[in-house]
Structure formats: structure tokens, C-alpha cells
Amino acid sequence: MRSIFSSATQEAERLHRLDTYFIIAALAVLLLVAALTVYYAIKYRDKGDGVEPEQTSSNLKLEAAMLVGPTLLVAAFFFLTIRTTQAILPPAGRLVPAVRIVGHQWWWEATYPGTNVVTANEIHLPVGQRLLIEGTSADVIHDWWLPAFGEKMDVIPGRLNHVWATIRAPGVYEGACNEFCGQQHAWMRIRVVAHTPADYARWLAAAGQPAAPPTGALAQAGGALFAHYACSSCHQIRGTAAHGHQGPDLTHFGSRRTMLAGLLENNPDNLSRWLTDPQAIKPGAHMPRFIFGRDSIRALTAYLTQLK
């Protein structure tokens, strides 16, 4: 089971230490209270003799101890809070981020400064580097969080936020939007694919390429339909005339493992179901139902699947 304790970044590892201290302290306090509660409940139960116990009502020394103990504990954790925060979340200054995240209802857009790469929901990052991840939103407030990466970041329209991540090992890490953002808040999941620096450079180069022209009659018909219908007013496919920015960039749609921000596996069946009736698959999504003919859907599916 992946959890906040399966740290995948150095920042999360640092946080994990703080988590451990806190869990130990909290369990100790809870155990103390629970033990005293049970012990007193047994020891001081009414003996049925009708005798009123001694009417003690205060003890200044004990009360002072009750005040000092928790205060020291809290002071220690405040010190740790400040130290850990400074270590994992220093200000970003004017540093150019490795990736810019924009939250949308209900998908994630990722751009890579210094390149023309734009992708959605599946975000590729290199391991071993201290990455600055910058976030904002195009509509309502969302929240970027991968449990294995430690801290989360609200992405807010009109504001730029940031987090740091030094990913330790290649692999796939999952996360999700954590701020309630409307109907499809549940299906706004994040997939981060971490590569070795060499693999990452290869991915970045490939992702920067424009879409390859479709091959085969069906896919070519699909490409023509994509241009003919309203698709291009919301979606971008680099290398074609489609330059919309409302929906996800589809230039390399076929290379993604999942679609609709984690809702479904990316395969031709799911894609043609989605094109048939988006509102039945992801109710509330901003993709309208176009009532395409069955042939059109087949052609569009063939075209989009080829966009590797």
C-alpha cells in the first residue's frame, strides 16, 4: 500500500522524520490519557457506601505541572516545524521552475519552461534533481498532491504557488486533486512518471516533436474530421491547425496510459465510448456531446490513438 510513509522524494523523507516524532509523542499522550481514564474509572468507582469522598478542588503544583508539560512538548514541535518548513519549502525566488502545473476542471495541464512541451495528467519528471514545481489554476481552486512527495500545494487562480521535489527513484507515482473543485473532483488524479536523467531527456525531446501525420485511410479520415468539427477550438495538436487551449493538449495523446485524469485506461474502446457520450462517462466534464456518427467515432479514435 502506498501512503504518506512511502516517501519518494528527499523532501518527503524529511517530512517522514517529523511524522514519526509526532506519532510517537501523540501516541504517548493518548496512552497516558486512556490509561488514567481506565485506571480511575476502575479504582474510584462508587463503592455504594454513600460516603462522600474528600472534596479536593485544586492543587496549584499539579496545575502548574499540567501547564508546563504540554507547553514544553508544543515548544519542541514548534521548533521542529520551523526547521522542517525551512528545509522542505524554502522560497522559490526568481528560479525558473522545472514544470508549470495549471489546474483545470477536471484535469491537469503541465508545461515545461524552455521547451514547447505541453502535456496533461501524466507528468514526466527526472530523478535526482531538486525540481521546482510551480502551480496555478485556470478556474477554481485545486490542490496538487502526491502522498509520496510530501507537501501539497493549493493551485489558485491569480496566484503562483510552488513545491520542491527531489525524486529518488524512477517509477510511477500517483496523486490527486485535494481541494474540492466541483462535480468531478474525484477524477482529477495525477500520475507522475519519474525517469533517469537520460530517459527524461529522451522523453522531453520526443514530447517536443509535433504530431506525426496520420497513416492509414481511417486515421487520415479521423484527422480530417478533427479539423472539420469543433475539436480544434478547444484542443491543441501541435503540427496541425488545432490550437485550442480549453481542453488538454492531444499532440501525444496516444502515448498516455490513462485518460480523463485517471478515470479510464487509455484504449480505443474507452476512447470511442467517451466520444460517443462524454456526459455518461464523466458527468459534468466540459466536453460537450457532439452526436458523432459511428464511422466518425471510429475514425477519430484511430487518429487519436496514433498520436504517440
Binding site: R2, Y44, A176
Partner: protein, 563 residues
């Protein structure tokens, strides 16, 4: 010697509502300005809304029982969880706490009425109409669907176009005005209508806590009401307070809401602390340990409550300096809150404990509230907050505080005061069944949600992917929820049967300490004619044990303070 009694002042001219003949049934209740009838109506209203809010969340739990469930549409789901949260906070917890306050504050301070009886009635009806108006939205095109804290810009018309959010604003504004008037009434009553001789340090802890709560309401509700008015302007008249594209600020709503919202947490917990303080004392047969300390820490909480709101917003990115400040203040407020637990433990220490159902809820509260308090400290630690905020860990935390704290306090108060209010006794065997069902159901529902949070399950999702462990933990949580639902139905049955044909209750069934037990059960329309003189915080005990009265204790000038 101590039994010369004090005359309770009565107005020369009775109020109009009081002259209605008591045989007039429902009409008498509707037109009543009697604080006891109004208090009881507050409690019935809270119970009614609790059944509705509980039903809503059971539907939500059914939807979440298995991964990728399609029982509810996302639209319906979002309306149900929004209404659940809003209902439970504003139309269950607050009316119930104010119901007890309005019923028992005058009795405990030896008064025959609240300061402003007609305003008292207005408060109740405003709150009820506010709640009804909010529920009317279901018929008017859709209930509010942006969560109980209703963040901008999701609350704007272009993201929530049903009229639900407008009804949310109007309903909460009405109820909020009702709460403010009730608070003014309580403050004036407590400051001006105490029986002659009752000093501040003789006031029962519950009265102190209601006074602090009322002050918190008066200082915090203006922020909410202003925010609601601004939101209505945004939605109806195209103002741009929270509309980013029009130059407004999405974060402004959060500041205004939590500037109200965090004091609100203490509005909901301080009265429960008051109830528990009475109950621990009476059922341990000892005065509450550290009266001055409990009251003093209550005052500290009430002041600090206004300096901690940003701990709800640590992920907003306000900077490490701001976050550090609010981390410090939030930890600071944890100290007086946490220490009270030890005060109550020390009250039990050396006592003679009677395990009535009220006391059982109080003892269970010690452990449950400690869990909620400790997970609360986790959110004051900025880096841990940045991990866990907006996950199911928060859901677990707030429910350990609001159920383990506030609701257990309300149940404890209900079992403690029911004989006084109704003149009847509840069935002891069924009461214990209710206690165990509810406690087991509650922990079954929410303990596992801590784990779900650390696994990364976000709150407020209408469904979730089938990740390892998620389905099982959610199923356990749903089962626990239904146990609580069954317990609640049992409670309703117990209340109704006890009111109809329960055994008659004596005036002072618990051998208690405070003045409400000095009158009949239930009290007559005029609470008291005369009450024993008040010379300590336990006047009714002083009256019953004149030779051992608190103000006669050796080595002290007066009262129960000092070892």
C-alpha cells in the same frame, strides 16, 4: 443557618405569551416566550435536523462503500455532503447547545427568565426559518453544492449555477442573526440577572462557558455575515469580491470564512466543556478540579480563537512567516484546550464515580476528544498539515472533535438534564445500549478514516479508484455509520417513550450541586419563588449539607479554591 432563602425577582407585569392557558397545546408552544419551552424547541429542532443530516450522510456513505460506485450522481453527492456539513454545524450543534444554554442558564443563575423573552422567541424562529429556507433549495432547483465552507470561486455563479448557494447565503444569514440575538440575550442575562449574591466565581462552569460562547459568537459572526452578503452581491448583482477574473480575490473568502470559522469551532466546543464540567463533578461527587483554571483557560481559548484561522489555509501559500505565526498560535490554543482533559481526570481522581449514561459519555469523551485534539495538533505543524490537509484525515479529525467532543457533550447533557426537562426518567438499560452502539459505531466510522487519509484519499470525492485497502476501509466506515444511524433511531424511540410513559423523576435525581435542581422536575412556569443563598459554585450542595458547605471549609476565606 444557611437556609435563609433569597427571593427571586419577578417582573411586575407578566409577558403576553405567559398568560396563555397551558391547555392550548401546540398554540401555546408556538406563541411561547418561556425560556424553557424555547430551549426544548431548540432541542427538537436540532434532533429533527440531525435525522435529516444523518440520512444525507448515510446516502453518501452508501455511495462510498465500494470503489467506482454509481449509486449517486456526482451532482447529488456534492449536494448531500454540503448539506450534511452545513446542517450539522448550523442547525444541529448550534441550536442544541443554545437550547441547553437557554433552558439552563436562567435556572443555574437563579433567574426566572432570560433578559429579553420575546427576543428569545425571535432567535429560535429565525434559526428555524433559516434552516427551512436552506432546505427549500432542494425544491427550488438544487441544494448548495460547494461544501459547507463554500470556497470561492467555486461558489460563484459560473461554477455553481443552481440557486443552492443563494439559499445557503440567505439561510445562514437568517440563522446567523438568530444566533447573534440569542447570544446578546445570554450575555445580558448572565451579566444582569444572576441571583443577588452570586459572584462571577460562583457561576457554574456551564454558565461561564455559555457566556464565553456568546461573546465568541458576537465577535465572529459579523465576519460570516459580511462574507455571505458579499457573496450574494457577487451572485445576484455581479459584484466581484471573490471573482478573480473581475479583479476580486479567491483567498479573501477563505480569510473571512475562517475568521468566523475557527472561533465557531470553539463556539461548538466550549458549551460542551461546560456540560462535561458539571457532569464530572456531580458523578464523581467532588467539585470540579481547578475551577479557576478551567474558566481561565476558557477565557484564553476565547481570546486566542481569533488568531488561529490561517491554519485552515496553510496550503494556500501565504509564505513561511505567516504560516509560522499561525502554527505558533494554533499550538498555543492547544495547550488550554488539552489541559482541561487533565482537569477532568483530576476531578475523577479520588472521587466516587457513578456510571450513569451521562457520565459514560463524559468518560468516553476524554479519550475520543484526546484523539481529536492530537490530530488537531498535527494540523498546527505546518509540514504535516501540508501532507494531510484536505484528506480523509481531516474528516476523521473534525468528527472526533465534533462528535467525540460536541455531540458527546450534548448527549451527556441530554441524559443529565432529561429528568429535569421532562420530569421523566429514561430507560437505563436501553440508554446503555444506545451508548455502546453509538460509541462503537462512531469509532468504527472514523478511526479508519485516519488511515484513509494517510493512504492519500482526498476528502469530498464522490468515488475513488480501486487502490489497495481503500475499498475495505471505506466499507468498514460505512458499516460504522449505519451503526450510529441505528443508535440514533434508538435514541428517538427512548425519548418518545420516556416522555409518554417513563417513570416520574424526582426534583434532584443525581444529588447534584447547582440551582436548577432546586426546583421541581419539570420546573413550573415561574422557575423559582425563592432559592438558597449562593456562597460558592455549589449552592445546592451547600444547602443540602449545611455543615460541610464549601464556603465554610477551613483555611479559606470563601469558596472552593486553593488546596
Amino acid at each position: 443557618m444557611a437556609n435563609t432563602t433569597v427571593l427571586v425577582p419577578e417582573p411586575a407585569r407578566p409577558l403576553p405569551g405567559l398568560s396563555i392557558n397551558s391547555s392550548q397545546g401546540l398554540l401555546q408552544w408556538i406563541s411561547s416566550v418561556d425560556h424553557k419551552q424555547l430551549g426544548i424547541m431548540y432541542l427538537w429542532m436540532a434532533l429533527l435536523f440531525m435525522l435529516v443530516g444523518g440520512l444525507e450522510i448515510l446516502l453518501v456513505r452508501v455511495q462510498l462503500a465500494v470503489p467506482r460506485n454509481t449509486f449517486l450522481s456526482p451532482e447529488a453527492y456534492n449536494q448531500l455532503f454540503t448539506m450534511h456539513g452545513t446542517t450539522m454545524i448550523f442547525f444541529v450543534a448550534m441550536p442544541a447547545l443554545f437550547g441547553f444554554g437557554i433552558y439552563f442558564v436562567p435556572l443555574m443563575i437563579g433567574a426566572n427568565e432570560m433578559a429579553f423573552p420575546r427576543l428569545n422567541a425571535l432567535s429560535l424562529w429565525l434559526t428555524l426559518f433559516g434552516g427551512s429556507l436552506m432546505y427549500f433549495s432542494f425544491l427550488a432547483g438544487g441544494a448548495p453544492d460547494a461544501g459547507w465552507f463554500n470556497y470561492a470561486p467555486l461558489n460563484q455563479f459560473n461554477y455553481s449555477s443552481s440557486p443552492g448557494v443563494d439559499y445557503y447565503c440567505a439561510g445562514l444569514l437568517l440563522a446567523g442573526i438568530g444566533t447573534i440575538t440569542a447570544s446578546i440575550n445570554l450575555v445580558v442575562t448572565i451579566l444582569r440577572y444572576r441571583i443577588p449574591g452570586m459572584r462571577f466565581k460562583d457561576m457554574p462552569v456551564f454558565v461561564w462557558m455559555m457566556l464565553l460562547t456568546a461573546c465568541l459568537v458576537l465577535a465572529s459572526f459579523p465576519a460570516l455575515n459580511a462574507a455571505l452578503a458579499m457573496l450574494l452581491l457577487d451572485r445576484q448583482l455581479h459584484a466581484h469580491f471573490f471573482d478573480v477574473t473581475g479583479g476580486g480575490s479567491a483567498v479573501l473568502w477563505q480569510h473571512l470564512f475562517w475568521l468566523f470559522g475557527h472561533p465557531e469551532v470553539y463556539v461548538l466546543i466550549l458549551p460542551a466543556f461546560g456540560i462535561f464540567s458539571e457532569i464530572f463533578a456531580v458523578f464523581s461527587r467532588k467539585p470540579v478540579f481547578g475551577y479557576a483554571f478551567i474558566v481561565g483557560s476558557g477565557i484564553a481559548i476565547a481570546l486566542l480563537a481569533f488568531g488561529v484561522w490561517v491554519h485552515h489555509m496553510l496550503a494556500v501559500g501565504l509564505g513561511n512567516t505567516v504560516n509560522g505565526f499561525f502554527s505558533a498560535s494554533s499550538m498555543l490554543i492547544g495547550i488550554p484546550t488539552g489541559i482541561k482533559i487533565f482537569n477532568w481526570l483530576a476531578t475523577m481522581h479520588g472521587g466516587s464515580l457513578r456510571f450513569t449514561v451521562a457520565m459514560r459519555f463524559a468518560i468516553a469523551f476524554l479519550v475520543e476528544f484526546t484523539i481529536g485534539g492530537l490530530s488537531g495538533i498535527a494540523f498546527a505543524i505546518v509540514p504535516i498539515d501540508l501532507q494531510l490537509t484536505d484528506t480523509y484525515f481531516v474528516v476523521a479529525h473534525i468528527h472526533y472533535v465534533f462528535i467525540g467532543g460536541t455531540l458527546f457533550g450534548l448527549f451527556a447533557g441530554l441524559f443529565y438534564w432529561f429528568p429535569k426537562m421532562s420530569g421523566r426518567l429514561l430507560d437505563e438499560r436501553l440508554s446503555k445500549w444506545f451508548f455502546w452502539l453509538f460509541v462503537v459505531g462512531f469509532n468504527g466510522t472514523f478511526l479508519v478514516q485516519h488511515v484513509l487519509g494517510t493512504l492519500g484519499m482526498p476528502r469530498r470525492v464522490y468515488t475513488y479508484p480501486d487502490l489497495p485497502g481503500w475499498g475495505l476501509l471505506n466499507m468498514i466506515s460505512t458499516a460504522g455509520g449505519f451503526l450510529m444511524g441505528a443508535a440514533t433511531l434508538l435514541l428517538v424511540y427512548m425519548l418518545v417513550t420516556a416522555i409518554r410513559r417513563g417513570p416520574l423523576a424526582p426534583a434532584d435525581p443525581w444529588d447534584a450541586y447547582t440551582l436548577e435542581w432546586a426546583t421541581t422536575s419539570p420546573p413550573t412556569l415561574q422557575n423559582f419563588d425563592r432559592v438558597p443563598p449562593v456562597r460558592s459554585a455549589r449552592p445546592w450542595r451547600d444547602h443540602k449539607r449545611p455543615d460541610d458547605a464549601d464556603h465554610l471549609k477551613p483555611g479559606k476565606k470563601k469558596g472552593v479554591h486553593g488546596k
